[in-house]
Symmetry: C2
Subunit: 365 residues, 2 copies
């Protein structure tokens, strides 16, 4: 699945497209964008943090191949809205972009989701190339083809599946990512180890110092293995009917904590706490051996990530928030739970395990 | 491709889904919706013209199978907007609809396009069942999976391909369609005859009186043949890279006339005029025999459809409007032109024929 091309980058098969990972790959973005999604117009969408560093050189390179326009949105989840989407679309229309347009998403998860949704719906769909610059976007959002925006009712409630033409990852861009965001990204990498690969879990633990410093070699290893794991799962279940639910480990309680915190917790921080709490659930109902939660918590603590529910977030509020997505079904909340480090439980129940409120209250206490 | 099921309805294979056509099929909508797209929530989207007649009985029938909510938009293209889309989406979210929701589009083209786009983007896509009630929506919008909304810059500029789970057509609903809309719908049926089937073209001409009165037997024949023709073309070229362009016959000048008229011309009226003018172009450049435009015009006139450019629409303005879609390419405007009645020209040029401005001015004069 993984191969090294002549520049020493890796190329991973993510099903409908490839994910290319390398150090310094950004100097080669334009050539690779043009190869994967040739167009008359290239539209680079970025944010005001990433754009200042990386968008201009890319624009110059792309201008040798076609018309280029660049749009910057303010950084942050608050701007991943239908309004931003409509404004970007209108700017592209006013700029004369026809169907022969390729959108390039250069930034973190917000840029990727938003620009991806612009591309998915522009004249019923134009190609998008994803160039993620945050660790979370590299290992999570880059695989699966999900795009979308938030509404007042919640995150990612409006969107589309729109696989990119290619994903280009330059691990050197992690050097300019704030350390808190690097740590938060690692929580998802740790999750990939827990759900699918105990050796990978151990390797993250061993390489933690280098990963926290965003050393290119260690980062490239980590991103590649996470992308492989997520790709294999998504290819086996593209529409989230079964196996893909295992990727939700840590996310049922994690999302609830994130929501109740008013998004003061970073996604990765919330997911880290969620993994520890959900691993405790797995131990209590007997699907995972004792010590699983402690083992996950130990790595997270070494990565300086939180592992306990912040006291300001009331257990009842968190429990209530887990029901938000499901209220329409009136059913019990289900969890994706590990069978230990490196595997998941509940295959016979489509990887969804119902857990009663009493037990959830216990682990939240 | 066509078969009659036990109730005497026809079922046509449109590739990813089936189109069911029958007289009185609406009494069986609920059962067929539930069979094709079972869900916990059923959301019926309609407009205030169609809704008053057909939405309530459908809601009652569906309520036996799940939770039902109904939304009515004001009739007319002016409401096919991102705002309507966002409001419908927010209403569904507030109503507690989760992923386990099927959207039912009950109405003409505006309802189908808008409700289809709501479904395409709701939680990254939920199923839609199309129940078109106008002739144009039955024979045109029902096939191809296009959904979308208009923006200030033009029609259908934002949207997605989102094939329905099934299309249910009750030709009896044509009885309540205003006669001008029945006539306008026939223009697209005539187009299908011109581009693909001379016998069908003749049959429309012979059955014109019955079609204009919306007699169920004649209407079912006509809708079925048009759906077959369009389905065969769309299946051969789902993403509009070649053959599907033949469906644009009459539409390059037709859209321009519609646009310059400020949408005072109905789509089908504009397309009728567009077909006559574009057939003249085909005669002038020698791809169609003399008399082709006259033959098309004769049928349109018998259907009481206009065949000449309204004097109020200046030729230069119309010519200018043909360039709107294409300005980004800086290239010449291309046309899909017939080789006579029953076939198209220009296969070797991907069915796109460039025509110089001078000739277009001549036929517009």
């Amino acid at each position: 699945m993984t191969g090294a091309d002549r520049e020493g980058s890796r190329s991973i098969d993510a099903g409908e497209y490839r994910v290319i990972i390398g150090a310094g790959l950004r100097y080669d973005y334009a050539r690779r964008i043009v190869a994967a999604a040739p167009a008359y117009n290239y539209v680079v969408i970025t944010d005001d943090m990433v754009g200042a560093r990386y968008a201009e050189p890319l624009g110059v390179d792309l201008a040798r191949h076609g018309r280029v326009s660049s749009y910057r949105i303010p950084a942050g989840e608050a701007h991943k809205t239908r309004d931003s989407w409509a404004r970007l679309t209108d700017s592209m229309l006013a700029g004369g972009c026809g169907r022969d347009t390729t959108v390039v998403a250069l930034g973190g998860g917000v840029v990727g989701d938003l620009a991806g949704f612009v591309a998915a719906t522009y004249m019923r769909g134009v190609p998008v190339v994803q160039c993620p610059t945050s660790l979370l976007a590299m290992i999570d959002a880059s695989v699966g083809g999900k795009t979308g925006v938030d509404t007042g009712a919640g995150k990612n409630l409006v969107g589309a599946f729109h696989p990119p033409a290619v994903v280009l990852i330059d691990v050197e861009t992690l050097a300019t990512l704030p350390p808190a965001h690097r740590r938060a990204g690692l929580a998802e990498a740790i999750k990939h180890g827990v759900i699918a690969d105990a050796d990978y879990f151990e390797r993250i633990d061993a390489d933690l110092a280098e990963l926290l410093e965003a050393r290119p070699a260690a980062a490239a290893e980590c991103v590649a293995r996470s992308v492989e794991i997520k790709s294999a799962i998504v290819r086996a279940d593209p529409r989230e009917r079964g196996l893909r639910r295992t990727l939700n480990f840590g996310h049922t309680l994690g999302h609830a904590l994130e929501h109740v915190s008013g998004y003061a917790l970073l996604h990765g921080e919330a997911i880290g706490i969620g993994m520890v709490l959900e691993a405790r659930l797995a131990e209590r109902i007997g699907v995972a051996p004792a010590g699983t939660a402690e083992r996950i918590g130990a790595v997270l603590r070494r990565a300086a990530l939180p592992v306990e529910r912040p006291r300001s977030l009331a257990p009842e509020a968190v429990l209530e928030a887990t029901r938000l997505d499901k209220k329409a079904r009136g059913g019990a909340v289900t969890y994706a739970l590990p069978s230990g480090i490196g595997g998941m439980a509940g295959e016979e129940r489509d990887w969804s395990i119902e857990v009663g409120d009493a037990l959830v209250r216990e682990v939240l206490a």
